[in-house]
């Protein structure tokens, strides 16, 4: 009855099939996005992928995508923010007052608007993080309060027009600094845009290559070389296809440049910064994070400050796009941003999600919107489809989780 040596413990039940299903879960969204693009390309006889239409999709959805970046962090942290639509309206109004009525220079006005957004986030973050009221309640209150403040500021009419710089941030395109080049049957295309696209692809390839080399150096497993190259080529083809189409139309929209920078910055922040990691650990297991010394309250607070600042950025861009700050601006934007995050693979319980996923989710809804309006579907049917897509995306997520 005495055992002198330690008996072997049973091996961990991590089978290859469970790893496969995790991969399926993560890549499902991209596959679905590709399928939706193919579907609408066929239904619209290719109109979806016309240069001007691609440009429209990006410009029309830019503010929702910016909100989605902030929202995914909120949701990873295990919270929700219902107030962003009203924050968009209020910050748009603030920006209009600062530029149109007070005549402040536009960079100062934009900076002050972003600061006011951060303050709005801080006010809500205080009640959520330090006072312990559920985010759902605090931001529901915020949704009403900030809409009320917008109406107080604006009365019943809009303020405009905005300075050209703010309008071109929302609607404008990079200039044709180097002229056009001929692309055979595709016609002329802007050289700067093409070079920027090539630089992005080259930069991406280089960083992936260095990451791979470093991982190999530490003895970690990496994708086999053919898979690695295939992934790079895939990304390069998609990016260049979009860039070529844009270059054929009116160069790169400034909001695309902004969005690319935000996507890159926030992805890095979420994955590789101590702050980003703490958001994941809070959402994954609040108690464990607390007992591991994570400053749970401070992190939660700053996540909401960040959300407020990004909502202000979306507010500036939305107001600039319409060339006026209106009292009903941003209505139901919070729902689009939340839907984007969940379609993009976030989990309701928190702890799961990716910035790129949220952006893909937002684009997916944008493509559905755009594609359905191209084929002349009435708006109620667009709503119906978007609702079902959201349900299907989360159902798929729950299903893969249960199977794992």
């Amino acid at each position: 009855m005495t055992t002198k040596t330690a008996p072997q413990t049973v091996a961990a039940p991590a089978t290859p099939s469970s790893r496969l299903s995790i991969n399926l879960r993560q890549s499902g969204i991209y596959v679905a996005f590709a399928l939706i693009i193919v579907l609408f390309t066929v239904l619209t006889d290719g109109a979806l992928l016309q240069p001007q239409n691609i440009s429209n999709i990006i410009v029309q959805n830019s503010y929702v995508l910016i909100l989605a970046i902030g929202m995914i962090l909120v949701i990873i942290g295990g919270h929700i923010d219902l107030s962003v639509g009203s924050t968009v309206a209020l910050t748009g109004a603030i920006c209009a007052v600062l530029t149109v009525q007070w005549g402040l220079p536009w960079p100062v006005a934009v900076l002050l608007t972003l600061l006011s957004g951060a303050l709005i986030g801080a006010a809500q973050g205080y009640w959520i993080a330090y006072f312990g009221i559920p985010a759902f309640i605090v931001t529901l209150a915020g949704m009403l309060v900030f809409r009320a403040l917008t109406l107080t500021t604006l009365g019943n009419q809009g303020i405009g027009p905005f300075p050209d710089e703010i309008r071109s941030l929302a609607n404008g395109f990079t200039g044709g600094y180097l002229g056009n080049v001929a692309l055979g049957p595709l016609g002329g295309a802007d050289l700067v845009s093409l070079l920027a696209g090539l630089a992005c692809v080259a930069g991406f390839a280089l960083s992936q290559w260095r990451k791979r080399a470093a991982r190999l150096g530490y003895g970690q497993t990496v994708d086999p070389m053919p898979v690695f190259v295939l992934k790079l080529v895939g990304v390069a083809v998609v990016v260049m296809a979009v860039v070529v189409q844009l270059a054929r139309f009116r160069n790169l929209p400034w909001v695309l440049v902004l969005l690319a920078a935000l996507a890159l910055g926030y992805s890095l922040m979420a994955n590789n910064s101590v702050f980003g990691r703490h958001i994941y650990s809070i959402g994954g297991n609040l108690q464990a994070a607390t007992l591991s010394g994570v400053k749970v309250k401070a992190v939660t607070f700053w996540v909401f400050v960040n959300m407020g600042a990004l909502a202000a950025l979306a507010g500036v861009i939305f107001a600039g796009r319409l060339n006026q700050a209106g009292p009903t601006a941003g209505t139901a934007f919070e729902l689009d941003a939340i839907a984007a995050a969940f379609i993009g693979g976030a989990a309701v319980q928190g702890g799961v999600g990716k910035v790129v996923g949220a952006i893909t989710g937002g684009l997916m809804m944008g493509v559905i919107n755009n594609g359905m309006s191209l084929i002349g579907a009435p708006s109620e049917r667009v709503m119906l489809v978007k609702g079902l897509v959201l349900l299907a995306a989360v159902a798929y997520d729950v299903w893969t989780k249960r199977r794992a």
């Binding site: 005495t2 049973v10 990691r277 591991s292």
Partner: protein
């Protein structure tokens, strides 16, 4: 004999590889009070859950005869229909609802779907009179103290025409007066012909009220004794047994000077701020020493540890934490970690791990700053660290990216230990480090604990398993009702001695 109301034969129950009950038998005579005694984890609560249908028919082996008929319960409702009612340690009352509403919850006094309030409150009053609770039936349950809530539970059982009443630690949260009243009530119910099965750690109560005592140990029935003339010492002898096996890796202690000293530590309950949970406790741990903290459920062990570690439990905390002769700040978790403390929780799934993340991100979670420059984490270094712990601690996982939720209990515990070892602490508080872990993995955890001590760290182990404390520790403190009631060295420690300290109440 046909006066047996309940016979359980050959009950065996397994949880994910761990055998909680092994061929347990129990027979209860009609109209008696039958006490079940045993250490924490002996299987008492599991046995009662099998009986009441919480663990449904088919999830265990063996047979249950109630009033001579075989039973196959698929849930609590089935057993209640037969007149078996269980009252759990955590009371199952809806605090916002009134006493009367709670009494008839799921069993409403209604006419055509609408509650008949007159009948509800009238019948409730009659039930309250029976248990001697002088309260208005419309009072919200939250307005009552724990003792009175316990009486509401019993009244609820009476409303269901109970024949066999099971009480799991009914007096654990009660003060002396309330306990006294409850025991008197059970006496009275016995006279009415209601049979009771009572699980209790308070052996004084057991010898006072019970007619028969059954002792469980390690999921087995050890003995059933008539309570007449039974001494507490005799019950303890049955509870602890005498089979200390060679389940522990060998170790030569190398003990240095004192590292940590907790002085005059007093903690109050956050739920009832006037209740003292830890009462003026003083204890110390030396370099390279493994010190045990023994105590029964509710003695305040975890509360002591968590209140020291960043005040993560309790209110009205007073006392000093001294490390290397200096008083240190442990008011936040960050400060406690910075001052070289680590606390491994008793519930690794709730308090220890992020189950949806891999080993790598769990191991780094408490000391991410060590892997970061200017706020940016070096994932490759993180991977190397995780791999190092995977090898040195023998964490069995497909990869360090595998979610920890899919690992076995023993491997999960190693991940938690790795997380805290990576913070390089001077003092580790390990709360139930081997709970829910199979025997082989326990040996490995013991080896890791020995290594920690050999590295010159001070280790404080909280455990419900006395053999574990005796096999592992150089010194053991006993805690009872929040007070340190004894301190024994490895040489003088016996299970009987510790159990005596652990059951020493305020009155004795």
């Amino acid at each position: 004999m046909s006066d047996e109301i309940l016979v359980m034969r050959g009950i065996t129950k397994r949880f994910a590889g761990v055998t909680a009950l092994h061929d347990v038998s129990l027979s209860v005579r009609r109209g008696e009070i039958h006490a079940i005694c045993g250490e924490n984890g002996a299987g008492k609560s599991t046995l009662m859950k099998v009986l009441s249908g919480v663990h449904p028919d088919g999830s265990y082996d063996g047979e249950i005869l109630f009033e001579g008929e075989p039973c196959a319960f698929n849930g609590v409702r089935d057993s209640e229909r037969r007149g078996i009612v269980i009252i759990h340690q955590e009371l199952a009352l809806c605090g916002q609802l009134s006493v009367a509403e709670n009494l008839f919850l799921g069993n409403e006094r209604a006419r055509r779907g609408f509650i008949d309030w007159n009948r509800t409150n009238h019948e409730a009053q009659a039930l309250l009179d029976r248990v001697g609770l002088r309260e208005n039936p419309t009072t919200p349950v939250n307005d009552l103290g724990v003792g009175k809530q316990q009486l509401v539970e019993i009244a609820k059982a009476l409303s269901k025409e109970v024949k066999l009443l099971i009480l799991d630690e009914p007096t654990a949260a009660l003060n002396d007066d309330d306990s006294q009243h409850l025991l008197d009530l059970l006496d009275g119910l016995r006279d009415e012909g209601i049979t009771s099965v009572i699980i209790s750690h308070k052996l004084g109560e057991v010898t006072r009220i019970a007619d028969t005592v059954t002792v469980l140990r390690d999921g087995k029935t050890i003995e059933t004794l008539p309570a007449e003339g039974l001494s507490e010492e005799r019950i303890i002898a049955g509870m602890v047994g005498r089979d200390l096996e060679h389940r522990f890796p060998p170790r030569t202690p190398d003990i240095g000077e004192e590292v940590l000293r907790i002085e005059d530590w007093t903690v109050h309950s956050p739920a009832q701020p006037d209740r003292v949970v830890v009462d003026n406790a003083t204890l110390s741990v030396r370099r390279g020493e493994i010190v045990g903290l023994a105590g029964l459920m509710g003695a305040g062990r975890t509360e002591l540890a968590m209140s020291v570690f960043g005040r993560t439990y309790g209110v009205g905390i007073s006392g000093r934490v001294v490390k290397d002769g200096q008083e240190i700040d442990t008011r936040t978790v960050q400060a406690a970690i910075r001052n070289g403390l680590a606390y491994v929780s008793e519930d690794r799934k709730r308090y220890g791990l992020n189950l949806i993340e891999g080993v790598q991100r769990n191991v780094s979670a408490a000391a991410l700053e060590k892997l970061a420059t200017r706020g940016w984490v070096n994932e490759n270094e993180e991977y190397t660290v995780a791999e190092r712990f995977r090898k040195s601690m023998g964490i069995r996982t497909a990869a360090v990216s595998t979610p920890t939720g899919t690992l076995s209990g023993g491997n999960q515990q190693k991940v938690v230990l790795a997380k805290w070892m990576f913070t390089d602490p001077d003092v580790l508080i390990l709360d139930e480090p081997t709970r829910g872990i199979d025997v082989g993995a326990k040996y490995e955890i013991y080896s890791i604990i020995n290594d920690l001590a050999a590295q010159g760290r001070a280790v404080l182990v909280i455990s419900s398993e006395l053999p574990e404390l005796l096999g592992l520790c150089d010194r053991v403190y006993a805690l009872s009702e929040g007070r340190i009631t004894g301190e024994v060295s490895r040489e003088e420690a016996t299970q009987e001695r510790l159990m005596q300290y652990m059951t020493r109440g305020q009155n004795s």
